[in-house]
Symmetry: C2
Amino acid sequence: MDKLKNNWFSEACEMWPGATFSFEVKKILHSEKSDYQDILVCESTSLGKVLVLDGIIQCTEKDEFSYQEMISFLPLCCHKNPEKVLIVGGGDGGVAREVAKHPKVKEIVQVEIDAKVIEVSKKYLPFMAVGFDSPKLKLHVGDGFEFMKNHSQEFDVIITDSSDPVGPAVNLFQENYFALMKSALRPNGIVCSQAGTVWNDLELVSNTLKFCKNQFPKATYGYATVPTYPSGQIGFVIGSLDSEIKFDEPQLVLTSEDEKAMNLKYYNSEIHKAAFVLPTFVKNHLA
Amino acid sequence: MDKLKNNWFSEACEMWPGATFSFEVKKILHSEKSDYQDILVCESTSLGKVLVLDGIIQCTEKDEFSYQEMISFLPLCCHKNPEKVLIVGGGDGGVAREVAKHPKVKEIVQVEIDAKVIEVSKKYLPFMAVGFDSPKLKLHVGDGFEFMKNHSQEFDVIITDSSDPVGPAVNLFQENYFALMKSALRPNGIVCSQAGTVWNDLELVSNTLKFCKNQFPKATYGYATVPTYPSGQIGFVIGSLDSEIKFDEPQLVLTSEDEKAMNLKYYNSEIHKAAFVLPTFVKNHLA
């Protein structure tokens, strides 16, 4: 908790030197060191409850819906029939909450490495941990990497909701991880991984996309705005085994009534298309 | 300069309480109090040179192109023939730099209230102040509000590149400002104003859009990502006297060669369309 000064938490990281985002803390709800990482849950004055892992903001009550909806619905809606979904990571429950909303999803398997994150989220972050209550979900505590070695050709969609590539998640940004996911997919399967931001680390985005492209016939990069993440956005690398796929043409098109019924606050079918439209400097770099 | 501690500058404002963005300062290049505001120019360790007015970051060398290109090219490319353009504010020169690139623009008039901002930008921020060198430009020091009272039906596009609605720019967010701009426009004219962000102040966005809609037959809201602005983005309210206009269909469609020739690093014709696609919670609130 050395970064908490005068009730302000500052997020500093080697990944974005010389710039930092800070928020005012009303109360520290929980602080512990698990087997994998430092876990901190705060009540903030302006962002609601905040989950911090290893000093990096994972989600705030104010804006978590944007990330959770987009990392879930972008790949799900790219797939014609996403019946069985694997979530790697996502220990707060927010991605499970979103995936369970999709009408074609019948079965969700989630593998989170840190039981403490699940426990803390259930206690302090019920707006996300509600995802664990879905009858569609089977939750395993363990290493997603190891899990997939024993599950080949089983999933339609694999979503990797990881922390940044420093600490326990570093293996999830390597090419062999994309190869492993490929082996765990059914035909025409799709993967979607948190993949950093173009403003802070265009090389990370570029490399992650390259690893995905090396393994999948089609791959792309999209993004969502999340104000409390560094640079105010977060990106996703999406790969598909379907070589005919058009990522910007959602297979499930939602009406305004659907958006309301599914309580979607960020995702809609138009923003699905727009998520893949990139600024010129990014488009040229990733070409 | 009371906000500079241990060589870090923190941007705090009543508009976004409880959260702040900070950057590390290598050197303060200039600091003064003009007749209108506190002016600070820093060399930062990770964002290049930074212009700060009244404690709020106006632009950083790293990402200013995003804002300047979008506030200029969104309205210019919505117009069939934007020959004569008025810029209100924009004392750093960045908007003039971008407007001058558009092939149909023949004449640019700029009215900036604070001569000191122009002077300081010319000395320390030449990558933006280069805009003042355009032979298309006539630069006036004065009040844009007063200027427009004497210039009716003169401009095809009016761009308001203002600071936030605290301090000298507060009048530029009122309905009578939109009425005045309307009177200064030629038939089918277009206005574009900096209008805050949906994550920090949805009511400000909503009110500004309402004022614009009350005066113009067509109006909309679009946005660009700018990591060093609060919430990582900035929005624009655009109004048009052409009731047949489709804001998301640019009249000038740029090729990759055009983007390169015009040194556009953010704007392209696809991102023009995507800029108007809004998250569900914003779409519903502004409907």
